[in-house]
């Protein structure tokens, strides 16, 4: 099992010591052109989660490749997964092609589901197919839970050549203030945190029933027990998102909590759940 960060939930250059506590670092999504992101207010805490509308703020592909990525690789000395976004299949494929052969890049995560920008008109499978043709790097498709049948999308991206799944992205939400106005400038944002966990677990579970691809499970993980739940539902790896905002020491703490769990008992139940969902390959390193 690898412990990662969820894309956009950690800046390796602002907090390299935190990024080094992960097995691999996932970058903030890079798009072909620079994006200033959404106007403020961008975040709002609710009773059970966090709503954000950052709007894929990033320096764009050219500056990312020339300056940001080399510095991240040099600073971390850790495998780096690059989160790739775009507005057409060609956008994604071009970035993938440009990542080919870059030192330190261990995988590409295709952000097919940012809730704060309009989706690419191409289907997830078309984007994956275009990227597959452009690179030999491992391709992880990051999917939204906001679909009637996420397993169907999982099957489609696997057929198109994906090497793994990242489950899940945030889900759209709206929070209003005391005077009933939206708390975010963009009104609607991506909802994360503990409220997302059951939704994410259901997506992992559903996808594990239809594929043997590695799955990075994420959504509301707060502690070691949550990690075990994701593994039991069928995740291969896990990623931390919102919890990093509250506790930059979460990766170390969660590893300690995992070490303290009664693994044998959990593994019995985990294997039960895994057997149910058809996962043959549960391993914890």
């Amino acid at each position: 099992m690898l412990l990662l960060n969820a894309s956009g939930c950690l800046d390796a250059l602002a907090a390299p010591a935190v990024a080094r506590t992960l097995d691999a670092f996932v970058t903030k999504t890079v798009t072909p052109e620079p994006r200033e992101g959404s106007p403020p207010v961008r975040i709002a805490e609710t009773d059970h989660g966090l709503l954000n509308a950052i709007g894929l703020q990033n320096p764009g592909r050219e500056r990312f490749l020339a300056a940001v990525l080399p510095e991240v690789v040099r600073t971390l000395a850790r495998p780096v997964w690059v989160s790739v976004g775009g507005f057409s299949a060609g956008d994604y494929a071009e970035t993938c092609a440009r990542l080919e052969g870059r030192a330190g890049v261990a995988a590409v995560e295709l952000n097919l589901s940012c809730p704060n920008v309009d989706a690419a008109p191409a289907s997830a499978a078309e984007i994956v197919a275009a990227c597959r043709a452009a690179t030999a790097l491992p391709l992880y498709a990051k999917l939204s839970p906001a679909t009637w049948d996420v397993a169907e999308t999982a099957r489609a991206v696997e057929a198109a050549g994906a090497d793994g799944l990242s489950l899940v992205n945030t889900i759209r939400g709206l929070a209003l203030d005391a005077s009933l106005r939206p708390r975010l400038a963009r009104a609607v944002g991506g909802y994360s945190g503990p409220a997302l966990k059951p939704i994410a677990l259901a997506a992992v579970y559903a996808c594990r029933r239809v594929t043997k691809l590695p799955i990075v499970g994420m959504g509301g993980i707060q502690n070691g027990r949550d990690v075990l739940e994701f593994l039991a539902a069928g995740a291969t790896h896990v990623a931390l998102g919102t919890v990093l905002f509250a506790d930059p020491e979460a990766p170390r703490r969660i590893r300690d909590e995992l070490a303290g769990e009664r693994l044998e008992e959990v593994f019995c139940s985990a294997h039960g759940a895994v057997a149910l969902s058809g996962n043959q390959g549960l391993r914890v390193r």
């Binding site: 950690l10 403020p40 805490e45």
Partner: protein
């Protein structure tokens, strides 16, 4: 950047505000204007507070209990512990010749510690009511104005202004005192550059407050 669980020493009432005093432990107080993320009991995310005072062995934060997180912090009892991360961000530059501290409402929070660092220079504080103005006792050499009088109504010229307060006040101070150092505020999720949530728009550009600020020079 360091994170420790620290014990509450006392919570003192100052008008509607609460001065939360915690045991300092291994945390550094940092530069005036820098901030700390305080765990808000029962909430998902911590809350950002600039350091208000650094008495020996303690750190003190001024809390305006306006939401569920700040109310939980103001309701802490001595002996209870919360996680504290900091100091974070960029504080005030202290190389100023004729400092004048300007604060509005809860924006007076960083001024007591700043005042100490600058040798108790004059200060100008604005509050919305006499009850809110009780917090003025924290700032030495302070002139206090109460709404409808605004700090910018009585702001003298020829001073190096260091200000913290609501955005309209900062904009007005900026217009009256070009070159002022302004401490801005925005909702923050993490405080250490991870979330990209805390941008403010200054001169048409979005600035990430937790890493570029919270103190921004307006001449830049």
């Amino acid at each position: 950047m360091r994170r420790e669980r620290r014990s509450v020493v006392a919570v003192e009432r100052l008008g509607p505000y609460a001065l939360l005093r915690v045991d300092r432990g291994g945390l550094e107080p940092g530069v005036p204007g820098q901030f700390f993320m305080l765990e808000a009991p029962g909430r998902l995310l911590p809350r950002a507070f600039s350091l208000c005072l650094a008495p020996p062995g303690e750190l003190a934060f001024l809390v305006d209990p306006v939401g569920p997180g700040t109310r939980a912090l103001a309701a802490l009892e001595p002996g209870e512990a919360i996680a504290i991360l900091g100091p974070l961000g960029r504080g005030f530059r202290l190389d100023v010749a004729r400092p004048l501290l300007v604060g509005g409402g809860i924006g007076v929070a960083p001024l007591p510690y700043l005042s100490e660092a600058l040798g108790r220079p004059p200060a100008l504080l604005g509050f919305r009511s006499a009850r809110h103005a009780e917090a003025a006792v924290l700032v030495p050499n302070a002139q206090v104005v109460i709404d409808p009088v605004l700090v910018t109504d009585v702001l003298p010229g020829g001073r190096d202004v260091l200000a913290c307060g609501p955005e309209p006040m900062l904009e007005a101070v900026r217009a009256a005192a070009p070159g002022a150092q302004l401490a801005w505020e925005a909702p923050m999720a993490c405080g250490y550059g991870a979330c990209y949530g805390c941008v403010v728009e200054v001169d048409g550009a979005l600035r990430r407050l937790c890493v570029e600020g919270p103190v921004l020079s307006c001449s830049s």
